[in-house]
């Protein structure tokens, strides 16, 4: 089922949570709403679910305007950040809840419900847990029960609010792989909110990057990572080094002092920086290595420029061993790849 969001705005008192959002989510995709806290991503998700009212704009699910439907008629599966499992019910009754509350003429028989719950328990790999209570489960197991509960009503769309936010790093990684696999099997249009770029890049078919109530960029993970359209996206999707400079005749050149005309900023990822011992051209920057440390196969080198700004470089093991860098050494760096943004609101 497609989701179509047209001109959605939302205000809480004086706070503009969402500004004129337009989004098209194709059927069957797994889409991440990515942004820092306060960017409006959860508000948007809750509006699609019907947990927040829509005052401005239209939301269509499967070409049907849902703004006028009460949430319990929307066929939306919603998974909450802190699971929101019914504490006094067993895993079985939690999953069966959505089927048991159906009006009599639409309610499946007890056997059908039991069969459906068993099927879902198998899907989320929790066979044998039916009689447990939520308090007897680990965080990851609870999240899977919450997902099974949402899937039991066979929703048109599945919405997940920070689904892995409350889990530790290892379980998180496992669960997101599992979610990816699950989505490949059941193929229901899924939207999940996250503030973790790695999670979004790892799982989603498409990423919607939000900031301050606006959509900054929409695209496939590789697309948004490789060609960010704004400094915010570039910054948010990973570590970045900033180089001040100016653009003359379409050419960027570094400069140390603040520019009065043609000011521009070059954005360079830490692994897109080349380090040399010899000065090979004028387009290199001199810096002194201040710190070297390693996390797994990646070597992080921190260096200080002459104007006291810092540069962060990442090398793989081979590159690092080849250069054999030492702390305190003076080197020359140059960007292998760079994205230049012209500040919109520079002052003269």
């Amino acid at each position: 089922m497609t989701i179509e969001i047209q001109n959605i705005s939302k205000k809480y008192g004086n706070f503009q949570a969402l500004h004129d959002i337009n989004l098209h989510i194709p059927s069957g995709e797994l889409v991440a709403l990515l942004g820092p806290s306060g960017s409006g991503k959860t508000t948007l998700l809750r509006m699609i679910a019907g947990l927040e009212s829509v005052e401005d704009g239209i939301i269509l699910v499967d070409n049907e305007n849902v703004a006028s439907l009460h949430i319990n008629q929307r066929d939306v599966g919603f998974v909450f950040q802190h699971y929101a499992l019914f504490k006094h019910l067993t895993v079985f009754d939690n999953i069966a809840f959505g089927l048991q509350v159906r009006p009599k003429h639409k309610r499946p028989s007890a056997q059908t419900i039991a069969a459906k719950v068993d099927e879902l328990l198998a899907l989320v790999k929790l066979e044998g847990f039916a009689k447990r209570y939520p308090a007897q489960l680990s965080g990851g197991q609870r999240q899977r029960v919450a997902l099974a509960r949402a899937l039991a009503v066979e929703p048109k769309i599945l919405l997940l609010d920070e689904p892995f936010g409350a889990l530790d790093a290892k379980v998180r990684k496992e669960l997101r792989r599992w979610l990816r696999k699950l989505h490949n099997d059941i193929h229901v249009t899924t939207l999940f909110v996250t503030h973790d770029q790695e999670e979004a890049l790892d799982v989603a078919d498409r990423i919607v990057i939000m900031n301050k109530g606006k959509v900054e960029q929409v695209g496939a993970p590789a697309e948004v990572y490789e060609s960010p359209v704004s400094p915010f996206v570039y910054d948010f999707l990973g570590n970045v080094n900033l180089f001040r400079g100016r653009v003359i005749d379409g050419q960027f050149s570094f400069s140390n002092q603040a520019e009065t005309t043609n000011e521009a900023v070059g954005y360079v990822r830490p692994h897109h920086i080349k380090i040399e011992r010899e000065k090979t051209s004028d387009a290199v920057i001199s810096a002194t290595i201040t710190f070297i440390h390693t996390i797994g196969p990646i070597w992080h080198i921190e260096m200080r420029r002459d104007d006291d700004t810092y540069i962060e470089v990442e090398l793989n093991k081979e590159e690092f061993l080849l250069l054999n860098l030492q702390v305190g050494e003076n080197v020359y760096v140059s960007p292998k790849e760079m994205k230049v943004f012209i500040p919109e609101d520079f002052s003269i």
């Binding site: 679910a49 019907g50 947990l51 949430i71 319990n72 008629q73 929307r74 939306v76 599966g77 919603f78 909450f80 802190h82 929101a84 499992l85 019914f86 504490k87 006094h88 019910l89 809840f97 959505g98 509350v101 159906r102 308090a135 509960r149 949402a150 039991a152 009503v153």
Partner: protein, 270 residues
């Protein structure tokens, strides 16, 4: 903090001594006094026509006020914990008002309002109704005094509960009633029961406000506490203590139910 054994023991013994001396001994004294002149006198005092009428009235008033205040308490706690609105803090303070106002003043307030010469008196007499010196007045006074109990027990429980489980129920297709019955109620049931118990105990025992609005017409508008006072003033000590012992028994039973509920809440939230 490091534990000082001496201070700890001294405090525990003082508290036990205090409670035994001022609560337990007088309570036992009521029962001994009630049975002083033998079981026959005790039973006669309880089975006396006026005593039975007082017991009936007390039960009737409790049966009306407790359900109404339970309904009010659930609605108020729901409004306060699940919605954001202006004047929330004011509503919270207003709910606690009956705790701050002396029951006697509450009684006088109703007299001022509903007596034939009062603010709404003429309207009421025109309709041929009697509120003061009659059962409706007693019910009103009791309702006023017992209003906060259920709400006060529920607000912290529902606050801790949050909204997510209810949102989950609704998003799974439940309607408002199903959500309340299947999700909200199970989560608040022990707090609710505790509030109801406290509310009932107070409704049975209320003296001040009721004594002012009831007019103490024997066999008509006398509740148990009022009946005890009348017997006492007429020097019928054995009879007074007999009825008092019955009320104390109710209080003790209430206390046991309360302890049991606390034990249950403790084990169910573990």
């Amino acid at each position: 903090m490091r534990e000082h054994k001496g201070i700890k023991l001294a405090l525990i013994f003082t508290m036990y001594g205090y409670i035994i001396l001022f609560l337990l001994v007088p309570l036992l004294f009521i029962f001994t006094k009630a049975l002083e002149q033998g079981v026959a006198v005790y039973l006669a005092a309880i089975l006396d026509e006026e005593a039975r009428s007082a017991i009936r009235l007390t039960l009737l008033v409790t049966a009306i006020t407790v359900p109404l205040n339970t309904l009010f308490g659930i609605s108020a706690a729901w409004a306060i914990t699940k919605f954001d609105f202006k004047g929330k803090q004011l509503l919270l303070s207003l709910i606690e008002l009956p705790f701050a106002v002396s029951p006697v003043i509450a009684g006088l307030m109703f007299i001022l309002f509903f007596s034939p010469s009062g603010v709404l008196g003429t309207v009421i007499t025109d309709f041929g109704l009697r509120i003061i010196f009659s059962v409706p007045g007693i019910v009103l006074a009791t309702m006023f005094v017992t209003l906060p109990f259920v709400a006060r027990e529920l607000i912290p429980v529902m606050e801790a509960q949050g909204r997510a489980e209810e949102e989950a129920a609704i998003s799974l297709g439940a309607n408002g009633f199903q959500m309340f019955k299947r999700v909200t109620l199970p989560a608040i049931k022990w707090g609710l029961l505790y509030g109801v118990i406290l509310c009932s105990a107070r409704a049975v025992g209320e003296f001040g406000a009721v004594s002012i609005v009831s007019g103490r017409i024997r066999g008509m508008t006398n509740t148990m506490p009022l009946h005890i006072e009348i017997l006492y003033n007429e020097y019928q000590f054995a009879a007074a203590f007999a009825v008092a012992s019955l009320m104390s028994l109710l209080a003790v039973i209430t206390l046991f139910i309360k302890v049991w509920i606390e034990h249950r809440t403790h084990t169910s939230t573990r």
